[in-house]
Symmetry: C2
Subunit: 301 residues, 2 copies
């Protein structure tokens, strides 16, 4: 199967490196410079002290024609608008699309795409982009995918070989529930660690931070009408422990002066609260603090 | 008039230096080392590039007998318990006490003191302690005092000469309103600047931070049942502008690994909210973030 990967950030590079072991992969990059570097030198994958090289075909995104059997969209949520615009302009609309964005605000966009089969995924691997063609794989985690619309056939064909290349991908029944799980953890851990500039584990070790975690979780639970809040809260605590030594992606984004995914995460929850006419005082304030820091830091870079 | 000043932090040193021009001042310090340094070398007052020396008598707090005509209590709110214990144990209870603490949580303690005349003050000077006997006067501001209980006589005698030594102190009618004004500004500016690690002016320059300022102010206004919220909010904005280039005391405390005055400020508002059975979601979360950072930083120092 031919695989197209759209976006060569940390997740795009990680997927391209691993999947190239079992599939014919083309990676589509934002700039032609990055495509050239990857085509000429390959992708380097760092895992601990080990470093492996993968030869992957790369092209600038403008050359994407959607001809691959499965297209994996690995851009940030806030870059999705322009990608969807491009999809809709293609001569042949790609029929099999897998979207890997964080949060849930992208779901309403997916309905606008005239593709037959659309899948969504949630990636829990820790990865960071070192340079244009190097990705550091910091921690192994789960990858889950689920059907958003259409038929499962192609995604089943895709996931089976992934198990044998040490890159397992699980198929889930319920996309909403699957994304919700990730959203809840992201909505608690990302803003607080980014504001406080602490590693994930600090949120449960420091009793005052843990009080703030509980208050924020309760607001999220109220807005999402969670049926099993205690189980969901335990999941958040488990993730904080498991990733205790990691910096959250939002903290890394702010430190690097990059745009964060706050709109896809807390922004989504604020919209949900407005639709249900609920108040979300902590969520709104944390949203403003992150947007403000983002503005300050991005201005400085 | 003999003046005793209890506490030789930034405000105690600033008062001792200025007041020594018109009064016979004794400064009571926490440690006998600091008393010795001040007795031998005097207090240095830095104002811009100028540096002046003031000879002031200093003793460790254990030697305080309350014999001065007016005792000015310039310790932090969280050190007040032990000072009040000491006052109550003195052979002759000092009859004239002026308390300069931030916030309003100390008011309930003042009723327990068997002194005839108790005054409270609010100090808006910017000052920082450089070392045991040096204080930097960073910005001139108002000093207001008001009667808490007893008669005004002694405080009038005290404030008159202060005008002629370039250290004006205004007498206010209503102590509650006077402290409230300072509390509101402190409750908005201190926690947000300390969490965000920004100067006071950033809170109104950055539109996202300003949204967070408004939300926090609205909670404070609701808890304090403010009659003129718009006027009070304008006061907060005016102070942010006027002190735009300053770091708030809470930010400085956290950076230096010192305990903050969060209990006297947001802690007081949380208690007020509980008494009135009101919710205070932002205030509670900011309280927890500051207490958590305080715990982290103080542990590290």
């Amino acid at each position: 199967m031919k695989i197209g990967i759209i976006g060569a950030g940390s997740i795009g590079l990680l997927f391209a490196a691993y999947l190239s072991k079992a599939f014919s992969v083309t990676l589509y990059t934002k700039t032609s410079e990055q495509a050239e570097i990857i085509s000429q030198n390959g992708i380097y994958l760092q895992e601990g002290s080990a470093r492996s090289k993968f030869s992957v075909s790369a092209k600038p995104i403008s050359q994407w024609e959607g001809e691959e059997g499965l297209s994996i969209i690995a851009v940030k949520q806030y870059q999705l608008h322009s990608i969807i615009k491009q999809i809709c302009k293609l001569e042949f609309i790609p029929q099999n699309l897998l979207f890997l964005q964080n949060g849930m605000s992208h779901l309403k966009l997916l309905n606008t795409i005239p593709a037959a089969n659309i899948f969504v995924g949630s990636v829990e691997h820790g990865a960071s982009k070192v340079n244009s063609n190097t990705v550091s794989h910091n921690g192994k985690g789960d990858i889950n995918v689920a059907l958003f619309k259409g038929s499962l056939q192609i995604i089943k064909e895709f996931t089976v070989p992934c198990g044998s290349i040490n890159f397992p991908i699980s198929l889930k029944d319920d996309y909403y529930n699957m994304l919700l799980n990730k959203l809840i953890a992201n909505a608690v851990i990302n803003p607080l660690t980014a504001i406080l500039q602490v590693k994930n584990g600090e949120l449960i070790v420091n009793s005052f931070y843990f009080s703030a975690v509980k208050k924020l979780f309760l607001e999220i639970s109220y807005i999402l009408n969670l049926e099993d809040p205690i189980k969901r809260f335990r999941d958040v605590v488990r993730i904080c422990k498991k990733t205790g030594n990691n910096q959250s992606s939002m903290l890394k984004d702010l430190e690097a002066g990059r745009r964060t995914e706050i709109d896809a995460i807390l922004g989504f929850l604020i919209e949900e609260a407005q639709i249900q006419q609920k108040t979300a005082p902590n969520i709104e304030s944390y949203y403003n603090l992150i947007k403000g820091i983002e503005k300050d830091r991005r201005g400085a870079h």
